[in-house]
């Protein structure tokens, strides 16, 4: 599969600050690519540069190998689903979806056919005459997506379109969007600050921070092997420890632990441990474990995702530990003292 979008050294400077700093990446045709970052990281600026609403300060945007410099938004083969959806309130569903096609001077018959086909694909058949103000959140979402997809764009840009939905609907739309993308095959570039949206839907995720890409990877790799401290802290939950020293293959943490971590070729400053990497009451036959004692502070029950908040006995550090799903520690309660172990491989160290 070819590169449908290629970004080379893209930079956007505003008067007071630089929103996007020297970003380069490419997106493969037919992929679901997410840009994940906290608010203010520059992801929306990046999206608006791709769509043509903001002019880049330097760098190049290539869509299907063609430079987009100087091409206005209405002439670019990309369409956006806006955060606010931006449905036209004075038009009904059909008129909204047909709006772009009518601008292309297609025959009425073709417009009708494509609108009908697209509304069918997003399961809005029979909603043609409804006012957009009469629709539910999820339906409005689908109208906005249909309105963009009906244009057969090379790339569909989605700017946090699930942000305004309630949790239940958002979970549902996540799956629906992923399936829709697989079915239609259009390249999606999805912007979000919600890591779960990015991880669930995407083929590839770029984590953005302060105008730069920290890591571009598959969701699994991003979670398993975060390349930077920011990614380790931002994607998924992590327990963070400051490091004071690294010598003789041993890490020294601020709270006084001496942990074995062989073969690092740099001097790490921070240590991240995922809650699920912490094993409660490990048996003696597990090798390469660092063990310590904690006191359970609270149980954070969340179904299959239940965690406990615990205090390290020796240092009073607070950390999160995932409970295994086999109900083995169901009767764990506040104040219990337990042994916790972590494998050396699950200690993620970074220079910061």
């Amino acid at each position: 599969m070819g590169k449908i979008l290629e970004i080379k050294n893209l930079t956007k400077e505003f008067k007071e600050f630089t929103a996007v700093k020297d970003v380069s990446f490419f997106v493969e045709e037919g992929g679901f690519f997410s840009i994940l970052g906290p608010s203010g990281c520059g992801k929306t600026t990046l999206l608006r540069m791709i769509s043509g609403f903001i002019k880049e300060s330097s760098g190049e945007i290539l869509i299907k190998g063609e430079s987009m410099s100087g091409i206005p938004p209405e002439k670019r083969p990309v369409n956006i689903v806006f955060q606010s959806l931006a449905l036209f309130p004075m038009m009904n569903v059909r008129e909204n979806v047909a709006f772009g096609l009518k601008r292309q001077k297609l025959s009425k018959q073709e417009v009708d056919e494509r609108v009908k086909d697209m509304l069918g694909r997003v399961s809005l058949h029979g909603f043609e005459k409804k006012k957009v103000t009469e629709l539910s959140g999820g339906q409005r979402q689908r109208v906005a997506i249909a309105r963009s997809l009906v244009m057969k764009p090379s790339i569909l840009l989605l700017d946090e379109p699930l942000g305004a939905l309630d949790r239940k609907l958002r979970e549902h739309m996540k799956i629906e969007l992923k399936l829709l993308q697989k079915e239609i095959g259009t390249t999606f570039i999805y912007i979000t600050h919600d890591q779960s949206e990015a991880l669930v839907m995407s083929d590839k995720v770029a984590v953005m921070n302060k105008g730069r890409f920290e890591q571009i990877d598959t969701p699994r790799n991003l979670y398993k092997n975060p390349k930077t401290a920011f990614v380790a802290g931002f994607v998924g939950e992590s327990n963070r420890f400051e490091l004071t020293d690294y010598s003789d293959h041993k890490l020294t943490t601020e709270n006084g632990w001496k942990v074995e971590k062989p073969n690092l070729d740099f001097t790490p400053k921070v240590l991240y441990i995922r809650p699920e990497a912490l094993i409660i009451e490990p048996t003696d036959d597990i090798a390469d474990l660092f063990k310590f004692e904690v006191v359970i502070k609270t149980i954070l029950f969340d179904g299959s995702n239940t965690k406990v908040s615990a205090i390290v006995t020796s240092s009073k550090d607070e950390l999160l530990i995932s409970l295994p799903q086999n109900a083995k520690f169901e009767d764990l309660k506040e104040g219990d003292k337990v042994q916790v172990g972590v494998n050396y491989n699950d200690l993620k160290c970074y220079k910061e």
Binding site: E74, F82, Q83, A86, F88, R103, R147
Partner: protein, 286 residues
């Protein structure tokens, strides 16, 4: 129960001044005028008659004046829209918020001065020895002053000037609620600037345009000062006919009938305009 009763008394006490104002100063005089519009002088005092109304339709000069007035009022309303829409758009969508409120305040200045003074101001500008003519002569563009004052043009300028503010404000209110992303979305879907204006911005601001249009039309068609001062003798303005009936010929019955005709016909024009443009009165201004 006690509470409710005392609330009622306070409520009526508070509403009393307004009710008195409405009834004594507006409703009663209108009823009186309405009655006198059906009265003509008979042998034994006033008698009931439709003559006051039929006079309007029988005399060409009256209904021609009315048509002239209505036509100008419609024209000035359209002109007010054309002139003020870009201003409203600029103030709500282009200029930064910091300056927008200051600039809107500037727009209101003509209102502080009062209609009569504004109209006299226009006399100074448009007169034969006014600002425009004197400067054109000074720069050698013309030899003799162009006669602008006391024409339909000077009258229209005056009417437009005093009424257009009432067009700007409702349009600005609707445009303020227009999400910029609607414009971007339309542009993203391939719409040209003109299409965005015609298909998105205008339909969206239609409630504001309609309510502005109604206010301007009613203000203009019922205005007396600008036609009388700036239009001069040649202007055929219906309110001047009403004025003449009351104060020149002292035919109060006729004047009252003309007043009600003005109210009814201009209301019908608005009703027709709303029907044609597919607008609903309930939605206007929302």
């Amino acid at each position: 129960m006690e509470d409710k009763k005392s609330f009622n008394i306070t409520f009526y006490l508070l509403i009393l001044p307004v009710l008195l104002w409405l009834i004594v100063l507006i409703v009663l005089p209108h009823i009186d005028l309405f009655i006198s519009s059906f009265q003509v002088d008979g042998d034994n005092g006033k008698v009931f008659s439709f003559d006051n109304y039929t006079t309007f339709f029988k005399n060409k000069i009256y209904w021609l004046t009315f048509i002239n007035t209505a036509a100008y009022a419609i024209g000035i309303t359209l002109l007010a829209f054309v002139v003020t829409f870009p201003v409203a758009f600029y103030l709500t969508k282009v200029v930064s918020r910091k300056y927008a409120s200051f600039l809107s305040l500037l727009l209101l200045i003509p209102l502080w001065i009062g209609e009569l003074v504004t109209v006299y101001g226009w006399m100074i500008i448009l007169g034969d020895h006014g600002v425009i003519n004197e400067s054109l002569i000074y720069f050698g563009i013309i030899d003799k002053p162009i006669h602008m004052l006391y024409t339909n043009i000077s009258m229209s300028i005056g009417l437009l000037y005093i009424s257009m503010l009432f067009m700007v404000i409702p349009i600005m209110t609707t445009l303020e609620s227009l999400d910029d992303s609607l414009i971007e979305a339309a542009s993203d879907l391939g719409a040209s600037k003109w299409t965005i204006f015609r298909r998105i911005i205008i339909p969206y601001s239609m409630p504001g345009i309609t309510s502005g249009g109604i206010i301007v039309f009613m203000l203009v068609i019922g205005d007396y000062v600008a036609p009388d001062i700036l239009g001069g003798k040649s202007s055929l303005w219906f309110t001047e006919q009403i004025y003449n009936e009351f104060l020149s010929t002292f035919n109060w019955g006729e004047g009252a009938a003309f007043g009600f005709l003005l109210l009814m016909i201009s209301s019908s024009i608005i009703w027709a305009a709303l029907r044609i443009s597919g607008q609903k009165l309930e939605r206007v201004g929302s």
